[in-house]
Symmetry: C2
Subunit: 166 residues, 2 copies
């Protein structure tokens, strides 16, 4: 009953899976060390700065920011505290929803991002993007796009979730 024979991965799939975790295990630390060394930023700091920089008025609601950067609210809250202490962002209360708050990019934060971006992009190129052929990049983008979509929590749009496949 609960004892169906497990569906192991094929040798090929196993191999693919191991390449993927290997990258997952090694890439972020590598990028982070380079960012840290050159600009004193963590990868999460950077991702947050980027998000803020791309939004009107350089501010984003904390919930949205948490979702955009794929982290828990709790972690983001701590992160914001650190970044606020570092002068990269400030919090601003939301006027229309008194529970909420915005993260706002400071001038300093903007300058740090501008300074860090070129070197970070170079890192990403060197260790990842320039290592793949254009054709590979395209396929990886499509494949990971669907993977990411399935991982993302369903948007809470007051709609009922589509029924589980029958």
């Amino acid at each position: 009953m609960t004892e169906a024979e497990p569906r192991w991965l094929s040798d090929e799939d196993q191999c693919v899976w191991r390449q993927i975790i290997a990258v997952i295990n090694m890439l972020p630390p590598r990028l982070e060390r380079e960012l840290q060394r050159t600009h004193g930023l963590s990868l999460h700091d950077y991702q947050i700065l980027v998000q803020l920089s791309e939004h009107p008025d350089r501010e984003v609601r904390l919930s949205d920011l948490a979702e955009a950067t794929q982290q828990s609210k709790s972690r983001l809250s701590h992160q914001m505290t650190r970044m606020e202490n570092a002068g990269l962002v400030v919090r601003r209360n939301c006027p229309t929803d008194r529970r909420g708050a915005f993260a706002v990019l400071t001038e300093e934060g903007w300058r740090v991002l501008e300074a860090a971006a070129p070197t970070h992009v170079e890192s990403v190129r060197e260790h990842l993007m320039d290592v793949m052929t254009p054709a590979q990049k395209q396929v990886v983008g499509e494949a990971f796009g669907t993977v990411a979509d399935k991982l993302r929590p369903p948007a809470r749009t007051t709609a009922c979730p589509s029924p589980n496949q029958p």
Copy 2:
């Protein structure tokens, strides 16, 4: 001089890169929560158990284990302490090199791995492997293989490193 125009990513590449980090950010926590809930293991615990289980006598030198699982020696050392306390592994001194040590899988560790493997594989299928087409998996495997190889520290085989590309 040091001020060359940064080589930004194209829109397509940017998009690919974001899909990749999104997966990097979301996949491990998801797999980990499921492993944790069903068998009380972290993803790192699991990776270590797998490595040990695949080696003769179910033991591996700590250095090799650190390399195989892509973590620092320090982290592995802490991890081993925890896993030893949990009864999953034991340390054994290396007879031929008195600095070194082996990690050895215990009976208990073996049983836990056997129990956890089917559910973990299902997780990996559900969130990753079964979401990609066979063609995508193949390309991703190749692409990430080369990425991983470039990230891996050069093997220390007493050979001199190949000269930087001229």
